[in-house]
């Protein structure tokens, strides 16, 4: 089968390299970075850190080069989903497209361009060290399920999950993948922007009782929006927040959004707190704290244009 990774950044590269280990899968990578694409085509893709992997695959910046594929895995930053899937949709006319991106609302954008969509959430993380070389920081599971309004057949979801798992990325196919997705979104929306707005690491956010209470306020709103959709979270985001604050876990971790803000990169706030607010708005669930945090982080981004 042919699988195209759409957006071969850190997370996309983890999937690309894993799948390229399999004899029955031909992997393509579509990415906007010419140096990264050139390096992959010349020397292959290398992962190091949590796993050492070398993979040979085809990469391109030109969507017209892509063959018809059985699967797409979209792994761009959330704000680039629309452009990336619009450019590559032709390759998936007969296939299914999964997302392993952060936030909520990506499936809806993908479904504007392709017919069979797979909802997904992934926990592995890494960073690009140099073109063609990715550091694998965190191992973790991935969950895939049919996207309800435009679902991929469940057998196809299982086929993709099986391939990912065989390649070394443990992946579960489930009928309803919203629980893990909302759990991750609520966790990220309650922790990432607080770090970004205050400059504090996750552990220091959590040891300030008043700020930890604000985190809980954000979580409670997110849970209410999930509950209004009948989504059962697979675990309590409160527990994840406290777990991450432990010294041996992520006390000193600067949230990725804080790293984005420090580097003046556009954040994924529109798909985290913004996503919770949009769903809440449609469902009639009030989300005033998430809306405040969304507006503040957008304000931070606007301040860079001054």
């Amino acid at each position: 089968m042919k699988i195209c990774i759409v957006g071969c950044g850190a997370v996309g590269s983890l999937f690309a390299a894993a799948l390229a280990q399999l004899d029955d899968v031909e992997v393509w990578a579509y990415d906007a970075s010419q140096p990264h694409v050139d390096a992959i085509n010349a020397n292959g893709l290398t992962l190091s850190g949590a796993g050492d992997v070398h993979a040979t695959l085809r990469a391109t910046t030109d969507a017209a080069e892509l063959p018809p594929c059985d699967f797409g895995i979209v792994a761009t930053k959330a704000m680039h989903t629309g452009a990336a899937i619009a450019a590559t949709a032709h390759a998936f006319a007969g296939g299914c497209v999964a997302t392993v991106q952060n936030g909520i609302g990506n499936e809806e954008v993908i479904a504007e361009h392709v017919e069979r969509v797979i909802r997904g959430t992934t926990f592995p993380a890494g960073k690009i060290l140099e073109p063609g070389h990715v550091q694998w920081d965190v191992r973790g599971d991935t969950t895939l399920g049919p996207f309800e309004p435009k679902p991929a057949p469940f057998a196809e979801v299982e086929r993709l999950a099986d391939a990912c798992t065989r390649g070394g990325m443990p992946t579960h196919a489930v009928p309803d993948a919203r629980g893990p997705q909302w759990r991750k979104v609520i966790f990220n929306a309650a922790s990432n922007p607080i770090g970004a707005l205050t400059g504090l690491t996750h552990g220091r956010v959590c040891e300030r009782p008043d700020l930890r209470a604000l985190v809980s306020g954000l979580i409670a709103e997110g849970k209410a929006v999930a509950a209004a959709q009948g989504i059962e979270l697979d675990s309590d985001p409160e527990d994840l927040i406290d777990h991450a604050a432990k010294p041996e876990v992520a006390y000193d971790h600067k949230a990725s959004m804080l790293q984005d803000v420090e580097a003046r990169r556009t954040t994924e706030i529109d798909y985290l707190n913004g996503g919770i607010v949009r769903f809440g708005h449609e469902l009639g669930v009030p989300t005033p704290l998430n809306e405040a945090i969304w507006a503040l982080v957008k304000g931070v981004e606007q301040s860079w244009l001054q």
């Binding site: 400059g199 306020g217 405040a292 503040l296 606007q302």
Partner: protein, 306 residues
């Protein structure tokens, strides 16, 4: 009224000292000897909307200054307690006027002496270029009202003196409506600017889409209005209209709290938003958004040491 002492020579104090010394005898109580020496040697220069240099007598020791009839405490709220303590036992025959942002400055000063007290809020602004040079930028008024053992007539006499010196001032029989209007405006604009690092510009009035910053500003103003109503205060001006007007002035104003966070200085969050949150609590009105911003700004201050 012929002798005025300006205690605290930041932007507001320097503007008052330079102007008032054109119409009466002005002494300046400074924190640093070098500042007092420079003022004694060079006088106070004001540029911008005014162009003048005034002779003043300055010292770090109240006992070294002539007995004033009026003392204007022009320091920031964060320095008020220590400044009032320095005045304890001095200037028994003087009336003391506060100009600090927020609420509660009068009580702090009143605890250090039996002086008759006037309250005021000021909207003028400037930029301090050196110990002896301040630029007068916004020529908006200072509002004055009686507080303890003073009458509306006392407030009028001080307002007349300030107007005669070339600045703008207005006397009120009851200052609370104006003070609350400014408090709500200030708490909202300063905290949002401190967190987003945006100057007070058009974003603060933008309400077209969900997530626009103006929605948050309006929600914060509404919380303040509810607290004012519960405290029995009928606002003098609508803080939302003040906000919209200010963003249309055509130049970008840098709120003091934004300048403070950029310079990694302690902000006035405690005396501004903190006093609003405490007054709202006293009145039994929930202000979750102001509470959230208060916590975030306090946390941002804590991150300076990271």
């Amino acid at each position: 009224m012929t002798r005025v002492c300006i205690a605290g020579a930041g932007v507001i104090g320097s503007l008052l000292a330079g102007h008032l010394a054109q119409v009466c005898e002005v002494s300046v109580l400074t924190r640093r000897d070098a500042h007092a020496d420079a003022l004694n040697a060079e006088g106070q220069r004001v540029s911008g909307r005014s162009d003048l240099t005034s002779r003043v007598v300055a010292s770090t020791d109240p006992a070294a200054l002539p007995e004033p009839e009026l003392v204007i405490l022009a320091c920031k709220g964060t320095d008020l307690e220590s400044l009032a303590a320095r005045l304890e036992g001095h200037f028994a025959g003087a009336t003391v006027m506060t100009v600090q942002n927020g609420l509660g400055a009068e009580e702090i000063v009143g605890a250090h002496g039996a002086w008759p007290l006037l309250s005021s809020v000021t909207f003028m602004s400037g930029t301090r270029h050196s110990d002896t040079h301040v630029e007068y930028i916004l020529d908006t008024a200072t509002w004055i009202g009686p507080y303890r053992d003073t009458t509306p007539a006392d407030a009028h006499r001080v307002a007349d003196l300030i107007v005669a010196s070339g600045l703008k001032a207005e006397a009120f029989d009851d200052l609370r409506p104006a003070q609350w209007s400014k408090l709500i405006f200030n708490a909202t604009v300063n905290a949002v600017a401190a967190l987003t690092e945006l100057p007070h510009d058009f974003h603060f009035a933008q309400v077209e889409q969900l997530g626009d910053l103006g929605n948050l500003v309006r929600d914060l103003v509404d919380e303040g209005k509810a607290a004012a109503a519960a405290a029995g205060v009928e606002l003098w001006e609508d803080p939302w209209e003040m906000n919209v007007l200010a963003t249309r002035r055509g130049h970008r104003h840098y709120p003091s709290m934004l300048e403070d966070v950029e310079a990694h200085r302690p902000t006035e969050i405690e005396t501004i938003t903190g006093s609003l949150v405490r007054e709202a609590q006293r009145a039994g009105v929930p202000v979750p958004l102001h509470t959230a911003l208060y916590r975030l700004v306090k946390a941002k201050e804590a991150s300076y040491s990271e």
